[in-house]
């Protein structure tokens, strides 16, 4: 009898726990005050092993997504990472190189080619001058090309990284390095690390959401939002503009919400009966997961629906509901961070401008791609600002590498259009919001944008900075795998303090 009263109590509390929407403050308050919640917590939280290395203690199998405070108070609460898959040309967007214009059409000097490897350039390519006009903008006098007229209006919000560099010159490995800290498959992505470190603020939404546009997945596939050796619960959840916004979120045709409720009720009753028999705490955990699933079925389509946004917002972002576009994804990103999603990762495919076609050229295709992202990105920053969210939302814009100051001559042939090959040595990225000092720039490249002169910034530095803004020491956020602690930044990484507010 005594047993069954306790059982009832536990089940009731498991249900309550799952039914309540917790902000972190709520959560802490409740667990500190409610004895029952504590008792349940200790019951459910007993899956760690005595001998397990403390490094993995953030992982609690029974409640892996419980919100957790970072290591120190971070400036940012969430991150929107905009990755332009394929690698845009910095020389037509951010990197103003008048000297390069003077070299246009001349043979590339041997000194630049010796000992260097390129993806497609063979023999001696010709130099290619900038294919865009540049102007200075804002109080900071940031140089931006005419391809980015909207961004130009908010130049002072941006911290430009002029001297980013990587050692990978192929898309898949370079994307992996940027997003997982290793050019090989199998490591957790930044968003997975963040979710592992912080859990999920909103119990009805995933903590790490991925949105893709441009018609293809990024070259490295879903691995760039994979959880690697971290438990799979930390992988990014891909939300989609067409079809189900999250896989299997929709009830089967012919079933309505009431029947879904009824069926989950039946399942939970059966499971409670099972718990009575086995007393396995995992059963309670499953009951709460089914409750959460039910709530996600409402909250995810809700947040993924942009129809109800006011007209001025659509105008601002350039969004068209019912399609998949970068603009739609950017607006969704704002909605998601508003709802407490920690990490929103966007990939936009189609920036690989080799010059093999008009759409893959730096003077036609790139201009069109810029047109599709310039307005929504600018809108995002302004919109977050007007909602008072910019300070706590870190925005990162970048790609896996940049493009060469030389014109591509694939297999020694002239390309039909103006294109540039992959360039690992020097390219541009930028950050804004989330404790970043707007109107700054960091690092410089030589007069033709071929190599770095100062302020060298590697993928690890970007990752360290992102973690820092969220309140994590990148050297201490570790996970034990295969016998040693791993971290996102491997053995590198320094926070780029020059751009911090």
């Amino acid at each position: 009898m005594k047993d069954s009263i306790l059982t009832q109590k536990l089940i009731k509390e498991a249900e309550q726990a799952s039914l309540q929407y917790y902000t972190r403050r709520h959560f802490l308050k409740e667990s500190a005050m409610g004895f029952g919640a504590l008792a349940l917590g200790s019951l459910l939280g007993s899956c760690g092993t005595d001998n397990a290395p403390p490094a993995n203690s953030l992982f609690d199998a029974s409640n892996p997504l419980a919100p957790r405070p970072p290591m120190f108070p971070g400036k940012a609460k969430s991150v929107i990472y905009l990755h332009m898959a394929g690698a845009p040309s910095q020389l037509e967007m951010f990197s103003y190189k008048p000297e390069l214009a003077k070299l246009d059409g001349l043979d590339c000097p041997q000194s630049l080619l010796e000992g260097k490897k390129f993806a497609f350039i063979r023999g001696v390519p010709k130099m290619l001058g900038p294919q865009a006009n540049f102007r200075q903008h804002g109080q900071s006098g940031l140089w931006l090309s005419d391809n980015l007229p909207h961004l130009a209006t908010i130049a002072d919000e941006i911290a430009m990284l002029n001297a980013v560099t990587t050692d990978q010159f192929n898309h898949a490995p370079a994307q992996l390095l940027m997003q997982t800290g290793s050019p090989r498959l199998g490591r957790p992505s930044i968003g997975s690390w963040v979710t592992y470190g912080m859990g999920s603020e909103n119990k009805n939404l995933p903590g790490f959401v991925v949105l893709t546009s441009g018609g293809n997945n990024p070259d490295a596939g879903k691995s760039v939002w994979g959880s690697g050796f971290l438990p799979s619960v930390y992988q990014g959840v891909q939300c989609r503009g067409e079809g189900d916004p999250v896989l299997f979120i929709k009830d089967p045709d012919g079933m309505d919400r009431d029947l879904r409720r009824a069926s989950i009720d039946a399942i939970n009753k059966i499971n409670q009966d099972q718990y009575r028999e086995y007393q396995d705490p995992e059963i309670l955990s499953r009951i709460s997961q089914y409750e959460m699933a039910y709530k996600m079925q409402i909250s995810v389509p809700e947040v993924m629906n942009i129809n109800d946004e006011p007209a001025y917002i659509h105008e601002m972002y350039g969004t068209e509901p019912g399609t998949t576009s970068f603009a739609n994804n950017v607006l969704l990103a704002r909605k998601l961070v508003e709802k407490g999603v920690r990490f929103v990762q966007l990939f936009d495919w189609g920036w690989d401008t080799h010059g093999t076609s008009a759409s893959g050229s730096v003077d036609i295709g790139l201009v069109n791609k810029c047109r599709k992202v310039d307005k929504p990105i600018t809108a995002l920053i302004l919109d977050l600002k007007q909602r008072g969210l910019l300070d706590e939302t870190l925005i990162v814009w970048g790609a896996e590498f940049g493009r060469t100051p030389m014109q591509e001559n694939r297999e020694g042939k002239d390309m039909p259009f103006k294109g540039r090959d992959h360039h690992a040595a020097a390219f541009s990225m930028w950050m804004a919001g989330g404790g970043i000092k707007g109107g700054t720039s960091y690092g410089e490249t030589d007069e033709i944008g071929y190599d770095i002169v100062s302020g060298k910034t590697e993928a690890f530095d970007i990752q360290a900075t992102i973690l820092n803004q969220l309140g994590f020491d990148h050297e201490k956020l570790t996970y034990e795998s295969q016998g040693r602690p791993f971290r996102l930044t491997d053995v590198g990484g320094k926070v780029i303090t020059d751009i911090l507010a």
């Binding site: 306790l6 007993s46 899956c47 001998n51 199998a61 490897k117 390129f118 993806a119 063979r122 192929n170 898949a172 090989r184 498959l185 199998g186 893709t212 293809n216 997945n217 070259d219 490295a220 879903k222 691995s223 438990p231 799979s232 619960v233 067409e242 079809g243 189900d244 999250v246 896989l247 299997f248 089967p252 079933m255 309505d256 009431d258 029947l259 879904r260 009824a262 069926s263 009720d265 039946a266 399942i267 059966i270 499971n271 086995y278 007393q279 396995d280 705490p281 995992e282 955990s285 499953r286 009951i287 997961q289 959460m292 699933a293 996600m296 495919w349 020694g412 034990e480 016998g483 040693r484």
Partner: protein, 910 residues
């Protein structure tokens, strides 16, 4: 507080103190044990500055000779037998933070200092970590309680006894039936087996059930699923375009190997070195695909050598992780920080793998060319003719060539391209007057050049020069227009001595533009003429040879070793960077391990024999530990991937060694016999019910006072659902299949491959046959903790998430299963709802349904009826158009069946 109570507490406390003192006295008379007492302190407090990567002040505690050897000061820091003269003890005992060790970190505790001091005074004896010491025969603890069924239980009972715990009673028959069947075959039991078992109440019923399950073909499929994770098996290559890979024959090889209970040592030898065994048959060659599951990178512009190297390193790491439970990959950059492996030893081991023919080619060479049965007969005939008319050696050589197109030289070895290029990093292509070089070709005694090429032009000529671009002309070879198809051509070449760089030039008068590629080469082969000229049947034999080399075949990537001419030296990579080559090394195994057996070749085969030598301390332990984990949820040592000093130590070391010894010596590496010993134990057969006290005492069931209760794997969940709904196809083997998957999962750039829904029964095959694309795996598999298999997955971590709930609620596969199950419920249960539900439940769980569950499901049914009575279109959507009885009753029952497929007890083994 009650005064009596506090007095009682005081008495208890003082007794505890006295007992504690005695214990301490008794304890300190015992010698300090290096492994369990000293090494943990070193690993935790010292090694990060004094061992492996860093050796501050020239002092390292990683190896004995380093620890006792002189430091930078010239003196050793440890003087065995003299703690007062040992700098180590002095430094850890100081108070001055500038001098005290660990520097700038928390001081050692008094106990830790005492332990180290005692260790030094007792002579600083070094000990090897348990996992690197050969397995010894164990004494079985002398327990004979009624509960005990076999020796496994004696080891388990001993520990339970120590803990003051009692085992749980045996689970009921229905639970055991389902548990055993899912564990051994990954499926619910067949009707025949389950009926027989449930009816038979004798002792032998369980054993007969067990034998039936072990004999089922489903057994091999279930254990193959485990091995596919270790072998990082996938149907694509990874990276950007992530193109398809045809390697399913390896999966089928595994199924057969498990089903025939191939001895584990042979199982490993064939996978690691089947190609180097004498006269390997196709099966042995397919076995070597194990290490061709490495990823390759097709992306244009990639450095093939970089990704070849990555694959070789992955083979080393996978071999150690999967088969020896060791984190050897740490050693690629530096000596292991915790375990006794030196950086050089990594590269010596890598040298075993560094001479396989694969070179990250787009065509996946080397491959096994699988002939049609008709052509196979031709091949046998030809081999026979060669044996009779030429020599055994010739027969072997040509058989190997026809089966593998090896040895050949891939055109991607060409360099110095001028007006030519390595097209997409795949094939050497030359334009008009273009040229390139092929390095270091042995021409001595070669009379024939065979090559595979394609061209779209007539009149092409290919000139081959010796040593310099304008050097001596070896031969000019006319190239026919192959209309873009690959073709193999053979020409004779004049005899030249020695090795030469060859310079190629191409010209066709019919190419007018400067940027058209005139010819692309795939591979070259320099050889002697086909033998047996003048012998009877020569003409036919030659014709067969020419036919077979071009025959249409099914290609599977396999391992083939380099010929002596193609030998690849192995170097240490400085700091793990493959671009910076250090000193050259020869193959060898780490010093801490068993030595190479006498008289084995120093190649992959020798390595495989070393690995399966009974003296190897890791191989049997790793497999025993892994099988145990599959049955009990956690390994005896929890970290399956790391039995080293940083892994979690085994809870039952003696049991692990007992089973490992038996596995090798008594069971002759039979996996079935080993599993049988585990599942016939009383330990395995316990009920998995838990109570508050037990949960408190042993939350993770480390002492096995109850049975294991675990969520099923992604594969098991799918398979049992298909089985209970009467949909499961029992078809075995063959190409991977594409069951239903939502739209838009596959979106790889530069790859038009589509998810083409399989038809008919291929929709409902067991999960292990589902096509796995590495960059976009099957969604429900990933949700239920399966992996993308980019690299070896030594252990799946179980999670419990809302996405899993969504998948098993809403995946359309669940709807199809629910319909199937509902239909069965109607068939067996007739018109009566209670009977339908009860019978359905019994189909799933083999026992009567409880009243609570029955009520819950009945209520759901009634709610559904209220809705569906009024909504015919919804009925059709739920029950399906094809069903004969499109009725509200059927639709409601489908909903009920769907809920049943989401029961926790169904998703778990209980």
């Amino acid at each position: 507080m009650n005064i009596f109570l506090s007095k009682k507490i005081a008495v208890v406390l003082s007794i505890l103190v006295i007992v504690g003192l005695f214990y301490k006295l008794a304890f300190s008379e015992q010698e300090v044990d290096f492994n369990t007492q000293v090494k943990p302190i070193i690993n935790k407090k010292c090694i990060s500055c004094h061992g492996g990567v860093k050796q501050e002040a020239g002092f390292s505690l990683l190896f004995q000779e380093e620890a006792l050897g002189p430091t930078e000061s010239g003196k050793p820091a440890i003087i065995p037998g003299d703690p007062d003269g040992s700098e180590l003890i002095r430094r850890i005992s100081l108070n001055d933070p500038e001098e005290r060790m660990p520097y700038k970190h928390e001081a050692l505790s008094e106990d830790e200092i005492k332990t180290l001091r005692q260790w030094v005074s007792e002579g600083a004896k070094w000990g090897e970590h348990w996992a690197y010491v050969q397995v010894k025969k164990q004494n079985v603890p002398d327990y004979n309680e009624k509960w005990i069924r076999n020796d496994v239980d004696r080891f388990i009972f001993e520990k339970l006894d120590e803990q003051g715990m009692k085992p749980s009673p045996e689970a009921d028959k229905s639970t055991l039936l389902r548990r055993l069947s899912l564990d051994l075959t990954g499926l619910p039991p067949s009707a025949a087996l389950s009926e027989k078992y449930l009816r038979d109440n004798s002792e032998k019923a369980y054993d007969e059930l067990l034998d039936g399950l072990l004999a089922s073909p489903a057994y091999g499929e279930r254990w193959t699923t485990l091995w596919l994770d270790l072998a990082r098996y996938a149907d694509t290559r990874g990276y950007e375009a992530d193109r398809s890979r045809n390697i399913w024959k390896y999966r089928d090889w595994l199924i057969k190997a498990f089903n025939t209970d191939k001895a584990y040592n042979e199982f490993l030898i064939e996978q690691l070195a089947g190609d180097l065994m004498p006269d390997p048959d196709d099966a042995k060659l397919i076995a070597t695909s194990f290490h061709r599951n490495t990823m390759t990178n097709d992306e244009g512009g990639t450095d093939n050598e970089e990704f070849r190297t990555a694959a070789v390193m992955d083979r080393v790491n996978t071999t150690w992780t999967s088969v020896m439970g060791t984190t050897f990959n740490c050693v690629q950059c530096h000596s292991h920080p915790y375990d006794p492996f030196k950086a050089d030893e990594y590269y010596k081991f890598l040298a075993f793998f560094n001479n396989s023919r694969d070179e990250d080619t787009q065509s996946e060479y080397p491959v096994l060319r699988g002939y049609s049965s008709e052509d196979s007969l031709k091949l046998i005939k030809l081999t026979g003719w060669l044996k009779t008319n030429t020599s055994e050696a010739h027969a072997r050589k040509y058989l190997m060539f026809l089966k593998t197109w090896q040895p050949t030289i891939n055109s991607l070895q060409c360099d110095q391209f001028s007006n030519a290029a390595l097209i997409s990093s795949w094939y050497a292509g030359l334009r008009n007057n273009g040229s390139c070089r092929l390095k270091n070709v042995v021409l001595e005694n070669k009379t024939e050049l065979m090559f595979r090429y394609k061209s779209n032009y007539n009149g092409g000529k290919w000139s081959v020069y010796l040593d310099t671009p304008g050097g001596k002309l070896l031969k000019t070879i006319p190239l026919a227009n192959t209309k873009g198809e690959w073709e193999i051509t053979t020409v004779t070449i004049p005899q030249v001595k020695g090795r030469h760089h060859l310079y190629f030039k191409y010209y066709s008068p019919l190419i007018k533009t400067s940027d058209e590629t005139g010819v692309q080469f795939d591979w070259f082969r320099f050889d002697t003429d086909f033998p047996g000229k003048g012998k009877p049947g020569y003409v036919n034999a030659l014709a067969d040879y020419n036919y077979l080399m071009r025959a249409k075949v099914d290609e599977t990537p396999i391992m083939v070793e380099n010929s002596r001419e193609q030998f690849r030296p192995t170097h240490v990579f400085e700091r793990g960077n493959w671009m910076v080559k250090g000193k050259q090394v020869t193959p060898g195994v780490p010093g801490v391990m068993n030595p190479m057996p006498a008289n084995v070749p120093m190649n992959r085969l020798g390595m495989a024999l070393w690995l399966t030598d009974k003296k190897n301390p890791l191989v049997a332990r790793t497999m025993v530990n892994r099988l145990w984990e599959q049955l009990f949820g956690y390994g005896i040592a929890e970290t399956l991937e790391d039995l080293g000093t940083q892994g979690i130590p085994p809870t039952h070391m003696e049991l692990l060694d007992h089973l490992s010894w038996k596995f090798m010596h008594d069971y002759n590496w039979s996996i079935k016999r080993l599993l049988k010993e585990m599942v016939t134990s009383a330990t395995y057969r316990q009920s998995s019910s838990v109570n508050e006290e037990l949960l408190k005492k042993d939350p993770n069931n480390k002492f096995y006072a109850r049975g294991a209760r675990l969520r099923l794997s992604a594969e098991q969940i799918r398979d049992q659902g298909l089985e209970v709904s009467n949909l499961l196809s029992r078809k075995m083997y063959g190409k991977s299949v594409m069951p239903f998957q939502p739209e838009g999962i596959w979106r790889s750039p530069y790859n038009g491959d589509k998810w083409n829904l399989s038809e008919g029964e291929d929709q409902y095959r067991r999960a292990l046959y589902t096509y796995l694309k590495r960059t976009a795996p099957y969604p429900s598999m990933i949700t239920f903790d399966g992996g993308a298999r980019e690299s070896c997955i030594p252990r799946r971590i179980r999670t419990n998430t809302p996405l899993q709930a969504l998948t098993s609620l809403n995946d359309s596969t669940t709807l199809v299963m629910s319909r199937g199950l509902a239909l069965r419920m109607q068939q067996i249960g007739g018109k009566n709802l209670t009977r339908q539900i009860s019978k359905g439940y019994e189909l799933m769980m083999y026992k009567p349904i409880s009243a609570v569950k029955l009520n819950a499901l009945t209520e759901l049914y009634q709610k559904a009826m209220l809705r569906y009575r009024k909504d015919k279109p919804a009925v059709i959507k739920i029950a399906g158009e094809k069903e004969k009885q499109v009725s509200a009753e059927t639709a409601s029952l489908v909903l009920v069946a769907g809920a049943m497929l989401n029961m926790d007890e169904w998703l778990n083994k209980n």
